[in-house]
Symmetry: C2
Subunit: 345 residues, 2 copies
DNA sequence: GCGGGGCGTCGAAGCGCTTCGACGGGTTCA
DNA sequence: TGAACCCGTCGAAGCGCTTCGACGCCCCGC
């Protein structure tokens, strides 16, 4: 391995000069700079990361902690992870991939050892066990998701409450009165992962305001699970005319099963998905959806984090406003229901 | 931050003793060891990663390079990545997440700077630009995938050639004579990503051996793309009775479109998927499939890599044998075709 | 023409750890 | 009973970098 000292010798300057050329923290004459840069190029020099971290007190590494349960909402996670990695590189940081497996201990380890300068937490639960060690570490951090207590934290997330409300508004305007939420797997709610509850909350309160009935059914992914769920929904609320789906693995099964039951989308039943754009576009019916802006979330998280590392970032909760894109899966509530409704009026 | 020296003072021993307690590289008396461990616990000591890397000459970090085009075969990638991270931790390594964006330069950077002790490359192309810098670096590495020239390299992958053959065997035994491969997006073939070609190769040669006709159609994911592709397949080969799909984003569309065309699976048309187990099980028809053993691949890659870091690992190409699981999507070729076939004989 | 101030460069002191050689004391074997 | 040895411990030397203070030198102003 080529060292700073060798570069210095090759360029006929001192080691510190090379260091200053690299960091730009002191002014260097053009001639010297060029000579040094040339030597670096010729020798193929790469600064040693360990030495740099030791001397400089920072590793230029951001830890990204992805959820333990990888079977859940995988595409979003992957998209965020890649967006984080890409954005981080653009700011000169590398990304360390931590799985949820180690939990709080991993946070302690990477912050305590100085391996990571900062941490991004994904899949944050309302009362997340990783937060105490994170707070204690004093390291800059950004959460993707929203815990119950956000004091002193920076969080980036889609505004899921507004998302829920937006879905209700759209459906209400189309004349729907009875809607059902096909949610994430029950485990997601049990773990009290914020986003699922917030969507539900948004749906519930807006539905109450506008006089719609809402049924909520968590659901595992896959056909069999959804078939059972769907059966119970229609048994309990036969007049359900619209679905909000927040579960990637349930989107396609829902469409297929509705078809199988002879319910046309959007003529008989409307469907809104809360999912990444791509899922909505590639589905068998182009879905009206609220996009989960995964890339944007990853990018923003990194930007806030870098600002905090540099000492400039305020603690702040950033809720991205949801955008509903109307595609082919939502339409006016079917006449029968609309008649019943006007009959009531 | 607590340092080694502070632990040493607290325990009343020298710094080197603490170091040896930590590494176990020299024998330490039980009493001393306990005293040191107690001090470590009490003070909440975590060895500084940078210092360790600098002094020890190794970072205990493995770089994992995921593909640039994240839209492709995402679930497999994520599964592998998580498996790698988990397995790596079990061996005391952390994982640095690199995206393909930087390409060869990233390999140079992380190996040259000593940031990573070793590298795992995913999504390897036949003539992969990342291999020259990787070879030049002299760092241990494992590829997930197979380049054209594997001299001096360790590779782990599913045996896709055997996978193709296995699919043909299964279909041939069921009496199918005309089969079609719905492949990955054309881009995947253009980039000459090994696995896609190898599956095709396996299918082709076994089909030739057993006298089956094979049609190959790369295909973008999603409904519209697949609808077009499928139309062309049936135009060109109306007697096609079986499909092999190697494209996660095409699985569900294929099933839906076949249904829409009035072709029942498996009565009229058989379908075999090459995909992760979960995709096959959760599809609208439980799919006969050859599983892509993502977790296994990630795990194996790490194990080989760790062996190489420790100087024990031979260069080796590990091709995992494919396993075909028969589920509900394959059955005997329809009678019309079987008759035609016996007429020929 | 001389003093003051930048500017550009250097030397040295660490950062926190690993590891090598050394050393004292207790065994062990002839 | 001494030499040879091993075990447990220590001190010191570095790993390759950053950064601080110091030091010339040149340019400027008076």
């Amino acid at each position: 391995m080529v060292t700073l000292a060798e570069v210095a010798r090759h360029a006929g300057v001192s080691a510190s000069t090379v260091s200053y050329v690299l960091s730009g923290k002191r002014s260097i004459s053009g001639a010297t700079r060029q000579r040094v840069e040339e030597s670096i190029r010729v020798l193929g020099y790469h600064p040693n990361a360990g030495a740099r971290a030791l001397a400089g007190g920072r590793s230029n590494i951001i830890a990204l902690m992805v959820p333990l349960r990888t079977e859940l909402y995988v595409p979003v996670m992957m998209e965020i992870a890649v967006a984080v990695a890409t954005a981080a590189r653009a700011h000169g940081y590398d990304v360390l991939l931590l799985t949820g497996e180690e939990g709080p201990a991993a946070v302690r380890r990477v912050t305590g050892s100085g391996l990571a300068d900062a941490v991004i937490l994904m899949d944050v639960e309302l009362d997340d066990g990783r937060l105490p060690p994170l707070r204690a570490s004093g390291r800059p951090s950004v959460l993707i998701g929203l815990p119950a207590d956000t004091t002193g934290l920076t969080c980036v997330d889609l505004d899921f409450t507004a998302t829920g409300a937006l879905c209700v508004d759209h459906l209400a305007e189309l004349g729907h009165r009875e809607i059902a939420l096909i949610g994430e797997a029950p485990g997601v709610y049990e773990r009290r992962t914020g986003f699922a509850e917030r969507t539900l909350g948004g749906l519930r309160s807006r539905a109450a305001e506008r006089g719609l009935r809402l049924l909520h059914r968590p659901c595992e992914g896959g056909y069999d699970a959804l078939a059972a769920t769907l059966g119970r929904v229609f048994d309990e609320r036969p007049d359900t005319t619209a679905f909000v789906v927040q579960n990637e693995a349930a989107v396609e099964p829902l469409l297929a099963l509705l078809r199988r039951r002879g319910r046309a989308v959007p003529e008989d039943v409307s469907v809104i998905a809360v999912c990444p754009e791509q899922v909505a576009v590639q589905a068998s019916v182009r879905l009206t959806s609220v996009a989960v802006p995964a890339r944007e979330m990853g990018r923003r998280a990194v930007e806030h984090l870098v600002a905090k590392i540099d000492g400039a970032g305020p603690d702040e909760v950033v809720l991205l406003p949801p955008e509903l894109t109307v595609r082919a899966s939502t339409g006016p509530a079917p006449a029968r229901v609309r008649e019943a409704r006007s009959g009531e009026a």
